[in-house]
């Protein structure tokens, strides 16, 4: 099954880490990511720029699009990236995502495959 993993940075998680510690953590994330990608468990994904770069478009049934500054959810936790994973079932997804090397919050959502 394919799942989208939304990766959110919690406020408490990364603050308090020195720049060196943060760089080290990024290093751990990227080597873990490469390993999973090589094994075929991560099939896509990116890190995103910060919420201050977000633009939200709300489009109604009449076709009007309203453009606003900022993310669509004003929350403490901000989506910072995503991964597309391909595993057997939710237990495997949970096991994989539980290895995420950084103090973040991760949401697993099954993907609707229309292929």
């Amino acid at each position: 099954m394919k799942y989208m993993v939304l990766i959110a940075n919690s406020e408490e998680g990364w603050t308090g880490l020195s720049e060196t510690e943060q760089r080290e953590l990024y290093g751990r994330i990227s080597s873990w990511w490469d390993e999973q990608a090589k094994a075929g468990r991560i099939v896509g994904g990116h890190q995103l720029q910060g919420p201050e770069t977000a633009t939200t478009i709300r489009r109604d049934m009449a076709g009007t699009a309203t453009v606003t500054d900022g993310p669509f959810l004003e929350a403490k936790e901000v989506v910072g990236g995503y991964a597309l994973i391909d595993v057997a079932d939710l237990d495997e997804a949970i096991a994989l995502v539980s290895q995420w090397p950084a103090p973040d919050i991760l949401e697993i959502r099954p993907i609707i495959d229309r292929m």
């Binding site: 079932d89 939710l90 237990d91 949970i94 697993i108 099954p110």
Partner: protein, 417 residues
């Protein structure tokens, strides 16, 4: 007719037990084979309806499990033939249906796993909300009807129905697997299952006698589920420990309420009204789990209850042992409620002042818990600090909705002036 009644009751009880055993087993197998929870339950329900029509007339079959299995299997194949979704897989499914292991059926494969274990672990999957785990387990594993679940939890029927529908949908759509987790995940997942069963038990056990009978039956239903789990996982000491814990509580249940429905606390209980045979059996069960050398929170809680149950009187309780057991329990599960119970044992061992001192650090975390204030009330009264005791009891009163507990607090407030 009167002379018929006892036999009827025996047959009814036997029938009820057979239905409880076989229904769950069949549902579990059909869920695995068909991958469709609703269809599985429907087929088994239909087979049961036929059985309940046929058996009283023709007598109970020698092997009721095999009878039901055959009936459900026939219906399943019949239904699947008419359903386009299954046409391609019909041959395969038909073959699997033939190999479903009935317990009482001489199974060709002695290792055939009882599918109920998969069913239980899936119902209690951590990706489901706690209320959904509870409702789904009671509905699917135990076979409780939705209205009964609703009455037991004092929740509207529609709410329970919706929880069950949503949970089944999430299992399907999110890809929650139908299996018993493997070694690395097993301890945590088993913990989830045990806590669901214990929650159900407590919900029933704490209910007062005046309330709907479903609530009290819930405790024995939970004990039945725990015995099922212990049978299916004979090498898991915590599963056995939970069963021993529930049975130790149930063995003393009759002494917990006075005839007028009011709550009788441990010091005042008539120990002659306890079921000492059941206590001995449960204590032996606990000893068996402890011999496995992997103690855990349920075994320790059972050991505490067993220690109370072994005491000839409240005064003669081995408080040194009880405090030692609470210390071990607290090191495994450092929750404020465990600390509260430990403080009460400390009060018995070292006096009410020591108990109050042990309660003090819990003030913030247990401020909204009625038993914290009630416990302070008891200890303050023992020290003759009646005004402070009354203040604590007045704090406790609005924090519980249980009528028996409320009555007890009100009585204390009335006599304490």
């Amino acid at each position: 007719m009167a002379p018929d009644r006892p036999t009827r009751t025996v047959v009814d009880a036997q029938l009820a037990e057979t239905v409880r055993e076989e229904r769950g087993r069949l549902v579990a197998s059909l869920v695995r084979i068909l991958g469709d929870w609703d269809l599985a339950e429907e087929l088994v329900q239909e087979a049961l309806v036929t059985a309940l029509e046929t058996w009283p007339r023709d007598g109970m079959p020698r092997n009721p499990g095999a009878w039901l299995l055959t009936a459900a299997r026939r219906r399943a194949i019949d239904r699947l033939r008419r359903d386009a979704r299954y046409r391609d897989r019909l041959a395969l499914i038909g073959e699997e249906l033939r190999t479903v292991a009935g317990p009482s059926v001489e199974s060709a494969d002695p290792l055939a796993q009882d599918d109920r274990l998969r069913l239980i672990f899936t119902c209690c999957h951590p990706a489901l909300a706690r209320e959904a785990q509870v409702a789904l387990t009671l509905r699917t594993v135990l076979g409780l009807e939705t209205p009964a679940v609703a009455r037991a939890f004092l929740v509207p029927e529609a709410t329970i129905a919706q929880r069950i529908v949503r949970a089944k949908r999430k299992i399907r759509d999110a890809g929650i697997p139908y299996r018993v987790p493997e070694a690395p995940e097993l301890p945590a997942r088993l913990g989830q299952v045990l806590s669901v069963l214990y929650l159900v038990f407590n919900e029933g056990y704490l209910a007062s006698s005046g309330e709907s009978p479903e609530r009290r039956e819930l405790a024995s239903d939970a004990a039945w589920l725990a015995s099922l789990l212990a049978r299916l996982m004979p090498d898991e000491p915590e599963a056995i420990g939970l069963l021993a814990l529930m049975r130790l509580h149930l063995a003393r249940a009759d002494a917990r309420f006075a005839i007028d429905g009011s709550l009788v606390l441990l010091p005042d209980q008539d120990r002659g009204a306890w079921d000492h045979e059941a206590i001995a059996a449960a204590t032996e069960l606990l000893a068996r789990s402890l011999r496995m050398g992997r103690p855990g929170p349920y075994q320790l809680q059972a050991a505490i209850v067993a220690c109370h149950a072994a005491a000839p009187s409240y005064g003669a309780t081995d408080w040194i042992e009880i405090v030692a057991l609470y210390d071990r329990l607290l090191s495994l599960t450092p929750t404020p409620v465990v600390a509260l119970n430990r403080a009460l044992a400390v009060a018995e061992l070292e006096g009410p002042e020591a108990g109050l001192a042990a309660l003090a650090p819990l003030a913030d975390r247990l401020d909204a818990y009625h038993l914290y204030h009630a416990a302070r009330g008891v200890l303050l009264r023992r020290l003759g600090r009646v005004e402070e005791a009354r203040a604590a009891e007045r704090r406790a009163l609005p924090l519980t909705a249980n009528p028996a507990e409320r009555r007890l607090l009100e009585e204390r407030l009335n006599v304490g002036s």
